[in-house]
């Protein structure tokens, strides 16, 4: 084993230990993201220091925005606390609280500067909005809050979509230190098409399996092609630990200096830049796959752990919050870019048609937010992804697939194979019958002793516990070993790695795996996706 792979094994072992130790955390509770934040029109934020945690064991001195007093005040948690018990808005977090507002609302954000005095002023920029400032002191780009002081920004939430906010004061240092966050503007009104047809049918399916609806809205924009069934927010950033340790050393050395006094400032070199941490929502893999609001990360409440069912339209809200671009590769399918920075991209000749590109690698660009739609259906695999077997004694192996006009089994929202691609229904994959899976297909799988299983391997080529348990052995009772993060008997989803394709960024301080990496799971309907924690 090379040192690199040894690191991999050590790291994976650590991960496995985490998974096993924390069955209640990772598996049983199985929190699966959503796009949590605080919703309202008035937000009181504080900028202050704290330490954020990285999976190599480091606690990194950082600055972040948080809720003044540790409560959202007049804002409320969204999804509501009834759906996400344990939701918090600490006084400092990275990224900052996701501010959720409704289109047309007047939004007021009051920022209190709780940074060390030597850090000087701080502020927030809201690119894309016409901002009015009150109080504070004049700064280069906007009004700023002096140490201990406040500044208030107000603007009309004019355009729906996902937007970034971040420090407008000494950004090379303050954004690096963690002063950034997201604003989600929900469209008003939501197009009627988004609560009818297949979207209503998807809700029926969710309800049948006792899943809750965690969406902030049913559409990303005031447009019928922007409907969605599930959503996730990912903020990409990187950290150079040297900058953070310099900042800490200088803040410590300055002590309780008086604001404005000679020497009461920081001279942190932000170049040359050598980031070693590559984060999604302030966490590096595998921490990003722990729950939202997990107690281990008191200052990094948001995770990156997407799950979905076949056929669901999944909205990805993605922001580049660092200073580098990252090619974010979504395994499994393309992403339709709806818009960037709240600007929906429409056809020049037909306002009902979208014109954004279809991408399998979505570049995250500093300061830029995009909204995109992803789905997975298994169309075109040329074999039955559920391993149905019309000769099986198991009724779940003999489910019907009745195609709609587009070829999907959407007439039966309570069935396990809701949204199955019907053209390949019952079409075998394997040449020889195996377990309770029919033969006659094109390929021969090698002896399982010849290959190595991954922890997210569902246990068979098929989707869902029913198919996998039937397929894993002649007796149907011997699932393969090592598939602990996606167990054959209870989940057996198709797992896809979503990660930065500048591959060195899927490391944490030189350790692989880590960094900008998460596992997206397409779960069969009988596995309940529970986005609460």
């Amino acid at each position: 084993m090379s040192p690199a792979t040894m690191k991999e094994a050590m790291s994976m072992n650590r991960l496995l230990a985490l998974v096993m130790m924390g069955a209640a955390l990772l598996l049983a509770a199985a929190a699966h993201a959503a796009a949590p934040g605080i919703k309202g029109t008035t937000f009181n934020l504080t900028a202050q220091p704290a330490y954020i945690s990285q999976p190599d064991g480091q606690a990194v001195y950082s600055w972040g925005y948080g809720c003044t007093g540790g409560t959202p005040g007049s804002a409320t948690f969204a999804p509501p606390a009834s759906l996400m018990p344990g939701a918090t808005c600490p006084t400092m977090q990275v990224p900052g609280p996701t501010l959720i507002v409704t289109q047309g609302a007047t939004v007021t954000v009051t920022l209190t500067n709780g940074l060390p005095t030597a850090a000087g002023n701080t502020s927030i920029l809201f690119p894309g909005f016409q901002v009015t400032t009150t109080n504070g002191v004049v700064g280069l780009l906007t009004h700023e809050a002096a140490p201990g002081g406040t500044v208030t920004y107000s603007f009309t939430a004019s355009s729906p979509g996902t937007h970034a906010y971040y420090s407008g004061t000494q950004g090379d240092l303050q954004v690096e230190m963690g002063l950034y966050g997201a604003i989600i503007v929900l469209p008003a009104p939501v197009p009627a098409a988004c609560t009818a047809g297949l979207h209503a049918s998807n809700l029926t399916a969710e309800a049948h399996w006792h899943e809750s609806d965690f969406r902030l809205a049913a559409a990303a924009y005031n447009h019928a092609r922007s409907c969605y069934d599930r959503e996730y927010l990912f903020q990409f950033s990187e950290m150079d630990p040297n900058i953070h340790s310099q900042a800490l050393a200088q803040v410590t050395a300055r002590g309780n200096c008086a604001a404005g006094a000679v020497g009461c400032s920081l001279e942190v070199a932000t170049e040359p830049y050598h980031p070693a941490y590559f984060m999604i929502n302030g966490r590096s893999m595998p921490d990003d796959m722990d729950t939202n609001y997990a107690f281990q990360y008191p200052h990094q409440p948001y995770n990156g752990n997407p799950h979905m069912h076949p056929g669901e339209q999944v909205l990805l809200r993605v922001i580049g919050q660092g200073r580098w671009q990252h090619p974010f590769h979504e395994h499994g399918n393309h992403v339709r870019i709806l818009g960037r920075d709240g600007n929906l991209i429409l056809s020049a000749t037909d306002p009902n048609s979208l014109a954004g590109p279809l991408l399998f690698t979505t570049t995250t660009t500093p300061g830029l937010a995009f909204d995109g739609i992803f789905y997975w259906t298994g169309r075109g695999l040329n074999w039955d992804a559920y391993g149905h077997n019309p000769a099986s004694p198991d009724p779940n192996a003999r489910l019907a697939c009745t195609p709609d006009a587009n070829g999907y089994n959407t007439g039966a929202p309570t069935a396990i194979n809701y949204f199955e691609w019907c053209q390949d229904h019952n079409k075998p994959l394997q040449a020889k019958p195996f377990g309770d899976v029919a033969g006659g297909g094109p390929v021969t799988l090698p002896d399982p002793n010849l290959f190595t299983n991954g922890p997210w391997f569902g246990g068979s080529p098929y989707l869902g516990p029913n198919a996998t348990v039937r397929a894993t052995g002649p007796t149907g009772t011997t699932p393969p070993s090592g598939t602990i993060a996606n167990p054959p008997t209870s989940e057996a989803g198709f797992a896809f790695m979503w990660h930065s394709h500048n591959e060195r960024e899927i490391t944490t301080n030189n350790i692989f795996p880590g960094g900008m990496l998460m596992m997206m799971l397409v779960d069969s309907r009988e596995f309940v996706i529970d986005e609460s924690n």
């Binding site: 090379s2 399918n333 020049a348 279809l358 075109g380 790695m497 397409v522």
Partner: protein, 522 residues
Amino acid sequence: MLSTQLLRRGFAALTLALITLPAAAQSFRVQCPTSTITHPTAANNNSEPAYVGPTYAGTAGYPAAPAHVNGAIKCQQISGGDGYASMGDGTQTYLFSFGPLSGLADIAAGLPGTQFPSVFNTLYSGAPLQPGAPDGSGGSYNGAVGQVPDADNGNAINGHVDPRPIMDVGVMNGNIPAPLMAIDEDDEFFLTLTNVGMIMRPDLFEQHTVHYHGYPNASSFYDGVPDASVAINIGASFTYYYLAPDAGTYFWHCHITPPEHLQMGMVGQIYVRPRQNRVPASTTLYAALQQQQLDPRTACNSAADILCSNPLPAVQTTATGGRKYVYNDGDGSTAYDVEYPLQIHGFDPNFHFVGMTFNPEGFADMKDKYFLLNGRSYPDTVTTGPLETQSADGVNHFSQPLPSIINIPAGGKALLRISDLDTTEYQTLASLGIPMTVIGINAKMLRDQAGNNLYYNTNSITLGGGESLDVILDACQVRAADGTCTTPYAVGDTYYLYTPNLDHLSNDAENFGGLMTEVHII
């Protein structure tokens, strides 16, 4: 560097060890069925039939008999292992890499190594294949290295292999880029990865995988991510199975410890040709695309599917079939005359040295010093034919099959299928002289949901790792309304593709070379 003799001895010992173990200890095999449920008639699967109608019309599907059997069967075998390549400054660089184990003659000629069953299942006869093949031996052989009659099954040709030729050819025979693959829409593609081990790193027991990057609606099982699937161990083979996805420029790579295996060279190219190439010259492309709309698998209905890019064109034309196209455009707007796959990559020589010498590799400070187009830096990019590299076994191995010389007939159009698998940074490629027309990004045609083409002209493109796009270079200065060229570029002219990332125009310490090649008007 270890002595050649010592290596040869070690090499022989390993080979011996592998072949003297009980039969179960190695499990090489290939898969290339001559017929399947989808392609039931063996005799029809060795060529691409014309596209005259959809496989299924309406919502019919298996087990109903298809209305038209489209596409054919394609097969390819590759090795996963290690090897050496030559950099533009002459440095011999160690690779983790894939090598060809079928289509050897085609690969050596710069062509895809993907074959129909009739070719793949042709048994080799002649002098034994030598280490370093195909340059040392093999001649015109394009079949599966190692395949022999299965004596236990009536001497059937069923994928049974003799491991000796596989080890002879496959060990330390890696290529950069990895073997080229090309398939046609509606094909079934059987891709066998044979893990021959990394002879220079006996401490590693590494698996390798194939990640077909961009495959839509992929199954995780064949997606090649070891964490989410299975990965084949040394001494065994795994056959990936794909129904050819939508036409476009894709690429593939190993997904084991990606920062390491990609940097070390396990990157390759694959593209899918559209069924529009198979439309008879007498049929309008618009009518053919209307036929595709009848089958929900090949349809693009913008109102029902947010992830399709080729609805019927907004402007109906009378263009007919008979040419080569990048996409099923329905209007002939993606037609081209010649095509060139171009893969952008970068090597950090320090990482490669460390990777050969059993030392811990750092990721955060990875810094590329060689900037590669198809595994070569300028001036090697304009050297014709395959490059060889003397490897640690003292034998010259076939290492870099693909030059990057773009030859365009005067007045014609060249398609550049550009992909980037750099592991560290974004790279820009600019065209000096001939404008680039970008017609597709990430294996999807640039067309809005209302059918308007969104192609654009530029003189440079920028890609990060894991991205691809399609560029047309038109060697015509003025075209008439009917598309004929009235003022071609002059025969004999030379233009350049180069990177404006000026520090990338270097080969390590040499301030000359890097990401650059030539465009010749012929």
